[in-house]
Amino acid sequence: MAANNSNALLRVEDLYLYFRATKGVVQAVDGVSLNLHRNEAMVVLGESGCGKTTLAKAILRLLPRNVHKYTGKVYLDKQNLMDLNDEEYRRDIRWVKISMVPQAAMNSLNPVLRVGDQVAEPLEAHYSLKKEALAQARDVFQRVGVPVDFMSRYAFELSGGMRQRVAIAMALVTSPDLVILDEPTSALDVLTQANIMNVLKRIKKETETSFILITHDISTSSELADRVACMYAGHIVELNDADHFFTKPFHPYSQKLMASVPTLRQTKQLEFIPGQPPSLVNLVPGCRFAPRCPSRFEKCADDPPVVDMGERRHVKCWLYAQGKEKS
């Protein structure tokens, strides 16, 4: 899936992240490749336990202790991040070039720090700025729509939506090239959700920042998406642009997933996917979606190839492999 596009900001090739567990090896991220351009937003969709968050952590190298296998290539601006050692990665990449809004970030703010100091902290840590840090924090508070006088408040004095904005401000304060957002709106109310998505859209318009948005909420993700990566059981089964994904997805899993989304404005027959995703321990060979797939055939017993559908679109399915086999 290599795309030697000069515009590419992030290029991930064959990334693997396995964990050791008591039951065996958990194949959480299993040979994932993707690329992302500058000022582009990619949505990573999938059910819980399909490896979305682990993919983000693998890119940002936030690893637990029980790593079994961590290989592949992650290029950021043509620099292979896998060549850096942990200290170099911490100093030059994490929160300098790539930052993250972790899951439930609004509940993980430090309760004994004023939110303004907390947002300024990355600047102090990475650039040892003091005065300027607070000034920049003030600036970023305005960008995410938190009143500047909230900077001297503590986290518990803010509502959920405001705390989530503070968490986003923390990720933006160093002006990174790439921000990874892990379920940024899932615990919020609809109106607050719409507000946060407006903030993200505005930031994307005003700056050159790229986004990776990890979510299982397909409707909300469409508010920001330029491209969609659909994950199933550790694989990216489909990479597509948003226009095509939301109207005519390729992979049977994506099609089923789209058919299960309830819509407000049109009536449609809702479908669900019978069965459940496989456990990521001791996976059987072959297509991982095959047991639940309505269009499976004999070939699905082998691991499907990644088929290039043109225009940076890829699908990992035997149905599209006729005559265009790649790997």
Binding site: E47, G161, D189, V190, L264, L270, Q276
Partner: protein, 332 residues
């Protein structure tokens, strides 16, 4: 202010001017005020009818459910079930009431006791309600497990909740709420913890059960987009009150209350064009329920506010269209 005139004679549940306030204490004994979690709610629920309560978190929808279930005691007003007021029931009658009303909780894992297997979980309500024959209990357990499509039944009965997937756990919760053959099910965000593909499955299951058993269901949710597939009537709640009440299609096609309009506008359908436009969102946040604003509770955020009216007098319920009730001065 009672609604649904035609179902008045045969309504299963009627909630009249219901208030549930929680006392705020100061220094352990002084009274610092009240959280008005439910503040004047009226509605009727007929046999076999599905009503959805939609609102943001903190608007009182779960408190309303728990008051109907008898978990919270109403401060004022009454819950009347089959013509009998809840507050006047004796302990024994309360047990009867609880067997007539099923409860489906939000978080299935939290709702199931971790040390009981499925057999014990489903048997307990039967034992409490004195179904003494073991054969009868087993028959009913098998029946209800088949209804929620947990087959083959015997494979599941010995399992503990942690051995089941989220969707299966929620099925067990549904089975438990159904086992006494209730007339009313209260489902408090039954699918918000589940994945998209499983969510639809559980909703369709609940819908099928509702129709085959002529169950009344009150479905509490924050997700307006699932309501269309599940219920006949919607009540939109804002700051402890029902602000709009209408049949589903009517409300989704032509919402009247400014809050409902904002809520519907904020919900996206999956469409790549969403990324190109900004959404209109009313400013501010829902009010505190300790000191709600005077007049209409939405007026500080409302674009159509009428000065001198909306900020002073609480709007009564207007029937803007047949069966379409709205608490807003615009429809005087």
């Amino acid at each position: 202010m009672t609604t649904d005139i035609e179902s008045k004679n045969n309504s299963l549940l009627s909630v009249r001017d219901l208030h549930t306030w929680f006392e705020l204490r100061k220094w352990g004994f002084g009274r610092a005020g009240f959280v008005r979690a439910v503040d004047g709610v009226d509605f009727e629920l007929g046999y076999g009818e599905a009503v959805a309560f939609v609102g943001e978190s903190g608007c009182g929808k779960s408190t309303l459910a728990k008051t109907i279930l008898g978990i919270h005691r109403p401060t004022k007003g009454a819950v009347v079930f089959e013509g009998r007021a809840l507050g006047k029931l004796k302990a024994q009658e309360m047990q009867w009431y609880h067997s007539q009303v099923g409860y489906v909780q939000q978080d299935p894992y939290g709702a199931l006791p971790p040390f009981m297997n499925v057999q014990h979980i489903l048997e307990e309500p039967l034992l409490i309600n004195k179904v003494t024959s073991k054969a009868e209990r087993d028959r009913r357990i098998h029946e209800v497990m088949t209804e929620v499509k947990m087959t083959p039944v015997d494979d599941f009965l010995q399992k503990f909740p942690h051995m089941l997937s989220g969707g299966q756990q929620q099925r067990v919760v549904v089975a438990r709420s159904m086992i006494m053959r209730p007339k009313l099910i209260i489902a408090d965000e039954p699918v918000s913890m589940l994945d998209a593909s499983v969510r639809v499955e559980i909703l369709m299951l609940l819908r099928a059960l509702q129709q085959s058993h002529n169950l009344a269901v009150s479905y509490i949710t924050h997700d307006l987009s699932t309501v269309r597939y599940f219920s006949e009537r919607i009540c939109v709640m804002y700051a402890a009150k029902i602000v709009e009440q209408a049949p589903v299609d009517d409300l989704l096609r032509e919402p009247l209350h400014p809050y409902t309009l904002a809520l519907i506008a904020a919900i996206p359908d999956p469409d790549a064009n969403n990324a190109r436009t900004f959404k209109e969102v009313p400013p501010g946040e829902p009010p505190s329920l300790i000191n709600p604003p005077p007049g209409c509770r939405f007026h500080p955020r409302c674009a159509h506010v009428i000065q001198g009216l909306c900020d002073q007098q609480e709007p009564p319920s207007f029937e803007a269209r047949p069966h379409h009730l709205v608490e807003c001065w615009l429809f005087k």
